[in-house]
């Protein structure tokens, strides 16, 4: 098969689409690819095709609804959330880009966008797949910019992180500058110190000795005053709170070594340790910078999730000429406005149905796996999805009053009471620092009392050899390795210290609908009555439901059988009840038991006698002559759910299911995955309360959830995990997102968490053993500060090497 020149997918045999690129007509698989390729050529950027190393992604069609959503982003009220005004009346915002597959895409985007009139500057970061745009709102609009990107085959969304982004960039520049200076000047100082290392110092003439000593003092000053700033400030902050931190020990080591060296230079007695000061600072800054990079990477993962989805809604205006519709941004909707919700749309407001009848899926909000019927007078909640037919709503709550906003407030409450994991390393380090500082003082006092000039080198050696480097690096290096390994297995780590909580979790709480189960029903049983062939039943039911978006219809489509497909005409859909139609001249009815009684005239009693009364997940097929079949559906377990629960149980975790669905459905799922305890019928606050009572009993709880109704619980959990298809608000409060992994990701995250904890403990253990051995040597004055620094560096190296083992795990 011919491959599409743009996206690389197969070109359907019938397609005759092509685009002329660099004089050659190239095959295109679809109108979307053709349009994008033509746009690229028209802009004179065909060079993209020569230089790309990956095929482009197949573009989505630019449907009117997308255009509406884009233009909604121009709304000034909405823009306040994510657009910053800059000097000269320009605006700037950050965009998340979809479809960037290789570096050539970056070139393509930047070349094309920077020549759009009104765009002052458009830059793309390939590593984070984010763009920064600076434009003149008087000349162009944000929606126009997004449309240009769209024409080139890229989707972009603004996200609300401009400030945090700027803050992170500032922090990383802060450390990078200091690291660079410290390394640069450190090299100079070490070069001058070379004669010391090779015992040739005595051969240097005295006047040059003085010159070199003062020069190294001078070169150490920038390191001391500029590069070591974060340590001075950290130490000062800790001391002001009457605490000791690693910064206190680092700062006193640096200060003492420098002060002693200055004294040695001035009095021309004793040794200088300028090289130790600069090396020490450089190594420490390096480990801080690496830790910062890991944190930044985690944050950019979060930004992909926090994208702003433009909310638009169709408003109905009744006037003398009749009813008109207009698409407006959600922010312009007021109480009592009438809005139209089409099938398939997410309902953006709380409201009451004024016209129409449809089924609505409230699964992500309530955990109920089957859609509920909504008709005139019923209340609908924002965030649910309309399925069958159009609904006209009167808006009863907007903004802060909506159900979603209520859940958001619950989330805040959950977050406020979130237990903070105290890092083992930090706890150990505080004691360690205190011990080292006392030992240093003890050493100094001992030598001074004996009137020995050894007091300075011995004290500095104590402070340097015990440098909490290994201690400080034990956790970050293990974290970096764990984050990379997790990402490779499709798990994004958002909050870094979450791994430690996961390793020590006692309970794992699962949501049911959408987490343990797919949230979609699956056909489990067919009972036939007077119809011999199951595949015939399926063909008839599928024909009736062929245009429906109801979950049952989707389940039937998944059951494609070998038989010839049937076609139905004169389809009549009664939302929430059933559907009828004519197939091969015969009328068929398919729907709930009550529907068959009402429409096909089958007595209720005879139907109920055939079932055990669980009407919830049943659908029946009948013709004029009578009942043909009863189909039973079940919320399907996710593949791997059972194995994941088994693995977690084997690791000694208690499994609890907290769900908003009906008792019967939850019990079935609990039995299916092998979980011992479950609670059904819980609202979001009920879930939060159940979780809080577990935590009150001393449990460390990991929560796995996906819906809006899980979000408060996720915010309160010791560690929260969501699936990739979870709603945004759930992802926002997740510590771990299973981006590429299924539910099995929970098990692999746990195994890596355990390994990370083991590695951190090994590293801490090593750091302690090393110090117990090295400290007495330093105190006895047997170790010079230079050897101490070497010992410290090799000890740190061992810690890094140990952490790297996590990457090799499988």
């Amino acid at each position: 098969m011919v491959a599409c020149f743009h996206c690389g997918e197969g070109v359907p045999g019938a397609s005759r689409l092509s685009t002329e690129i660099a004089g050659v007509a190239q095959p295109m698989c679809c109108r979307g690819c053709q349009a994008v390729a033509e746009a690229i050529v028209a802009m004179g950027l065909a060079g993209y095709y020569t230089h790309r190393s990956q095929n482009a992604e197949r573009p989505r069609e630019l449907v009117p609804q997308l255009l509406d959503e884009m233009s909604a982003l121009d709304d000034a009220k909405l823009q306040r959330g994510f657009v910053l005004a800059t000097d000269g009346g320009r605006c700037t915002t950050s965009l998340v880009l979809d479809g960037v597959t290789c570096a050539a895409c970056v070139w393509l985007i930047e070349s094309a966008l920077n020549r759009v009139e009104g765009i002052h500057r458009f830059t793309v970061n390939y590593a984070t797949r984010q763009a920064q745009v600076d434009w003149d709102p008087g000349t162009t609009q944000l929606s126009a910019i997004l449309q240009v990107l769209y024409r080139l085959g890229f989707e972009a969304y603004p996200f609300n992180a401009a400030e945090r982004q700027a803050l992170l960039a500032k922090e990383s520049r802060y450390y990078l500058r200091r690291l660079g200076i410290s390394a640069l000047f450190g090299m100079q100082v070490m070069m001058i110190a070379t004669p010391f290392y090779f015992e040739t110092w005595a051969e240097v003439e005295p006047q040059y000795q003085t010159l070199l000593l003062y020069l190294s003092l001078l070169l150490t000053l920038p390191v001391l005053t500029y590069s070591a700033q974060p340590f001075w400030m950290g130490a000062w902050r800790a001391l002001r709170r009457r605490q000791v931190s690693m910064d206190v020990s680092i700062a006193s080591g640096i200060a003492l070594a420098f002060a002693g060296s200055v004294a040695a230079v001035v009095t021309r007695t004793g040794e200088v340790y300028f090289d130790s000061v600069t090396m020490f600072t450089t190594l420490l800054l390096g480990s801080r910078y690496i830790e910062l990079l890991v944190r930044q990477h985690a944050t950019s993962q979060l930004d992909r999730i926090a994208r702003i989805l433009p909310a638009v809604v169709t408003r109905l205006r009744k006037n003398a000429a009749g009813t008109t519709t207009e698409v407006v941004p959600l922010t312009q909707i007021e109480l009592a406005d009438r809005v139209l919700i089409r099938p398939g749309e997410t309902i953006p407001v709380d409201g009451t149905v004024r016209a129409g009848r449809s089924t609505v899926n409230e699964g992500v909000l309530t955990g109920e796996s089957m859609p509920v019927v909504k008709t005139v007078g019923d209340a609908v909640i924002s965030g649910s999805t309309n399925i069958d037919s159009a609904l006209e709503l009167a808006v009863s709550a907007v903004g802060e009053q909506t159900f979603i906003a209520h859940v958001m407030r619950l989330i805040e409450r959950g977050q406020a009471s979130k237990p903070m994991a105290i890092r083992l390393a930090n706890r150990v380090a505080a004691w360690f620092v205190l011990a080292v500082l006392s030992l240093a003082v003890l050493t100094a006092v001992y030598y001074l009392l004996r009137g020995s000039p050894q007091w300075l080198p011995a004290t500095v050696a104590v402070l340097v050899i015990s440098c909490p480097c290994a201690l400080a690096m034990s956790t970050p290096t293990a974290m970096i390795a764990a984050t990379a390994t997790l990402l490779r297995r499709g798990v994004a780590l958002i909050r870094l210290d979450a791994l430690e909580s996961l390793a020590s979790a006692t309970h794992v709480v699962f949501d049911k609908t959408g987490t343990l189960t797919t949230g979609r029903p699956r056909l489990v049983r067919i009972d036939t009555y007077g119809m011999p062939d199951e595949s015939q039943v399926l063909a008839l039911a599928a024909a009736l439901e062929q245009h429906s978006e109801h979950p049952i219809a989707c389940a039937l489509r998944a059951e494609r059988t070998a038989g010839a497909p049937q076609f139905a005409t004169d389809i009549v859909n009664t939302p929430g009840e059933g559907i009828s139609g004519v197939i091969a001249g015969e009328v068929y009815y398919f729907g709930s038991l009550a529907y068959l009684t009402a429409h096909a005239g089958i007595p209720t009693e005879s139907l109920w006698a055939l079932t055990d009364g669980a009407d919830h997940k049943l659908a029946a097929l009948a013709s004029r002559t009578g009942l043909l079949a009863i189909l039973q559906f079940e919320d399907e377990l996710r593949s791997g759910a059972r194995e994941t629960v088994a693995t977690l149980r084997a690791a000694g975790k208690q499994i609890v299911i907290l769900s908003g669905d009906h008792e019967r459905a939850v019990a079935a799922a609990a039995a299916g995955v092998g979980a011992a305890s479950f609670v059904a019928g819980l609202k979001p606050d009920g879930k939060l309360a159940a979780l809080a009572s577990l935590q009150a009993q001393g449990a460390v709880v990991a929560v796995v959830g996906d819906g809006v109704n899980d979000a408060p619980m996720l915010a309160q959990a010791d560690i929260s995990i969501t699936l990739n298809d979870a709603v945004d608000v759930a992802k926002l409060h997740a510590d771990l997102v299973l981006i590429g992994a299924g539910i099995e990701g929970v098990a692999s995250a746990l195994s890596i968490a355990l390994m990370t904890r083991r590695t951190v403990r090994q590293n801490l253990g090593w750091a302690i053993v090393y110090n117990v051995l090295a400290l007495p040597l330093a105190m006895s004055g047997l170790v010079t500060p230079a050897v101490a620094a070497l010992g410290m560096a090799s000890s740190s190296l061992l810690v890094v090497a140990n952490a790297a083992r996590i990457r090799r795990s499988n």
Partner: protein, 57 residues
């Protein structure tokens, strides 16, 4: 040994120049995206079709 005076002076000037260049690189974001720069050199504006009007940022 007098040569050392000259060498020190040269090294101090070099250190100053390198520090300045490094700060410039950090401030203009040279360290923020290390992946594109490698490919960018291959795709300068020469790749633009000659028919298209020459445009510059």
């Amino acid at each position: 040994m007098e040569i050392i005076l000259l060498l020190i002076a040269i090294s101090l000037v070099l250190v100053g120049a390198i520090a300045w260049a490094f700060f410039w690189a950090v401030d203009t974001g040279q360290f923020e995206d290390l992946d594109v720069a490698a490919a960018e050199i291959l795709m300068d504006d020469d790749a633009v079709d000659s028919g298209a009007e020459p445009t510059r940022r």
